[in-house]
């Protein structure tokens, strides 16, 4: 059979037959990338908003660094995290290597610059006039922050969408720090690499289709949130 057709059929079959291994792999992908993005957002949105709202010396330089880190190759992040978490590395005593936690750490490092970068541009794009208007109406600092973040909502959700997409489709970092251990650290992307290496192109493609479906569902939810409350 044509491998592409075979992939489609297999993808459907794997989903319909409730294959426990495929579901465990899907769930781990979702769990690792989801947690990385949630923690990343909690850390990076305040950072990004602060950078955007303040003027300070070296802001452009800082932004150049952040923009550069947005393009950090996952495999380099993986290597760095591996060296940190390795038994011979500085964080060796925690024995986190080859666990989902290690994978979350690696993806977290990957998504933080992306979320900061997009947040900075989203918040910077909020009209200065709105700030002054809100302040003139006697808003407190907290109310001002909420208003600005609400104005920047579309951009902030873009940050989440982009970083989640980068995390769940990334293979270099999770391969190195996770090790692609069956049932433990095998995620969709590493499973795709593994099956390709085995010559199981049909299954590999099926897993790719499942990855896309999963990403689509998450993105659909985020996009709903992104545009909710706004007339199209």
């Amino acid at each position: 059979m044509n491998p592409i057709l075979e992939g489609l059929v297999k993808a459907l079959w794997l989903l319909v037959s409730l294959d426990p291994e495929v579901y465990s792999i899907m769930f781990l992908s979702l769990r690792v990338s989801g947690i990385a993005v949630i923690i990343g957002a909690a850390l990076s949105i305040p950072c990004g908003a602060t950078i955007a709202l303040r003027d300070f010396r070296g802001k452009r330089f800082l932004m150049s660094i952040i923009n550069t880190l947005m393009g950090l190759p996952p495999v380099v992040v993986g290597l760095l995290v591996y060296l940190l978490l390795s038994t011979s590395g500085p964080l060796g005593p925690f024995q986190l290597l080859y666990t989902p936690t290690a994978m979350i750490i690696a993806q977290l490092i990957m998504v933080v610059p992306i979320i900061i970068g997009v947040t900075v541009s989203a918040v910077s794009a909020v009209d200065k006039g709105i700030r002054e208007k809100v302040l003139s109406m006697g808003a407190t600092g907290w109310q001002l922050t909420v208003t600005i973040l609400r104005e920047a909502k579309i951009g902030l959700l873009t940050a989440l969408i982009v970083s989640f997409g980068a995390a769940i489709s990334e293979v270099g970092a999770v391969m190195i720090v996770g090790g692609n251990i069956r049932w433990i650290t095998r995620v969709l992307t590493t499973a795709i690499v593994f099956e390709t290496e085995l010559g199981e192109f049909g299954i590999a493609l099926a897993l790719g289709i499942i990855l896309l479906l999963l990403a689509f569902i998450i993105n659909w939810v985020l996009t709903q949130l992104q545009w909710s409350g706004l007339r199209r």
Binding site: T87, V146, L157, N180, E197, G199, L225
Partner: protein, 352 residues
């Protein structure tokens, strides 16, 4: 910004909803992590793709896991990488195939009690029209020589793994024997793929080239490799012995040495050696046991095989099953102690 907006109250509600969803998601995720972060005894085995991809480990390891209640986490990498990560103390035991790398690993004090488990063989495969005319030659060095000659005339290509795997080490050993130092730079007929065996086999098929492969991977892939056939086999230099080496507990006390020893003992036990001999794929035996054939083991680079096997026979892996481990693990799970930071810490209770 000319997007028309609805009432501010709606927007506030939506924003609060987003916040609540994010926070709830975060709380759920973190509590899930916490719930699943239970102390459990496991060991990490770094092994080569040839043993893992062939299905041999999937066939042997469930027995080990249920017998000793230890989860085996398998990293499937080339021999070179397996040994490097073991040197950094990131795994408990390696099952690999490259004599010189293994000996260095032991001599530098990273590994202990290296013992031979099994062997299979390498084969030289190439295109069916065989431009180098090596089919049927029983001497791999002669065959390699012919590939060089034909390659220099631009009529043959050799693809190398070039990834420091055991197969790559064997290939370089043969080149060294005929005083050839091939690389992409010096010879246009030599391609350094830097990839796993499966990928290299497919490349070889596409390019109608020659390569060296272990027989197991060849058997698993040959259906997809219509352009290729086995050309050279059964030379003594092509024998491919696999050794198992626990990581030195003095170097890395945090590793699960007891489980590593239990695992090595398990592989070389008479029962498992028989299972290895019975393991077949497409009707072909892929691995031949040798742990208890001391003559064969010595010939294949394990001069201390008899002593090591005798040593393993005196070890008591049942110590792993002793009740203190289970009790401590359960207790610590109950009290949420983070004992799982160091598996060997749990094990050290066995000795008390």
């Amino acid at each position: 910004m000319t997007v028309a907006r609805v009432k501010p109250e709606t927007r506030l509600t939506v924003s609060i909803t987003i916040l609540v969803v994010l926070v709830a998601g975060g709380v759920l995720a973190v509590s899930y992590e916490y719930y699943h972060w239970r102390p459990m005894q496991y060991m990490i085995l770094a092994t080569t793709t040839s043993t893992y991809d062939s299905g041999l480990l999937d066939y042997l390891i469930p027995v080990f896991e249920s017998k000793y209640n230890i989860q085996v986490r398998i990293l499937s990498k080339g021999t070179g990488e397996s040994i490097e990560i073991a040197k950094r103390g990131d795994v408990d035991v390696v099952l690999v195939h490259a004599k010189t790398l293994e000996e260095a690993f032991v001599n530098e004090g990273y590994g202990v009690h290296r013992v031979g488990v099994m062997y299979n063989d390498f084969i030289v495969i190439g295109p069916k029209n065989d431009p180098a005319g090596i089919k049927g030659i029983t001497n791999a060095t002669t065959a390699f020589h012919k590939i060089v000659e034909t390659g220099n005339q631009g009529r043959a290509i050799f693809i190398s793994r070039a990834d420091r795997s055991g197969t790559n080490a064997k290939e370089l050993e043969i080149w060294t024997k005929i005083n050839v130092k091939p690389s992409n730079k010096t010879y246009s007929w030599y391609l350094e793929a830097g990839a796993g065996m499966g990928t290299v086999l497919r490349m070889t098929n596409e390019k109608q080239a020659y390569t060296l492969t272990d027989r197991g991977t060849w058997v698993a892939f040959r259906d997809q490799l219509k352009n290729l056939e086995v050309l050279v086999e059964k030379d003594i230099i092509l024998l491919n012995p696999y050794g198992v080496i626990p990581v030195n507990p003095q170097k890395y006390p945090q590793r699960n040495y007891k489980a590593a020893v239990a695992f090595a003992k398990f592989l070389i036990s008479e029962e498992r050696q028989r299972l290895i001999a019975d393991f077949k794929k497409e009707g072909e035996t892929l691995f031949f046991p040798m742990a208890r054939d001391f003559g064969k083991a010595t010939q294949l680079g394990f001069p201390n095989q008899a002593q090591e096997v005798a040593w393993y026979d005196t070890q008591d892996p049942l110590a792993l099953q002793s009740t203190p481990f289970v009790t401590i693990a359960e207790l610590s799970a109950f009290h949420n102690l983070e004992v799982n930071f160091s598996p060997s810490l749990i094990c050290s209770w066995d000795g008390m």
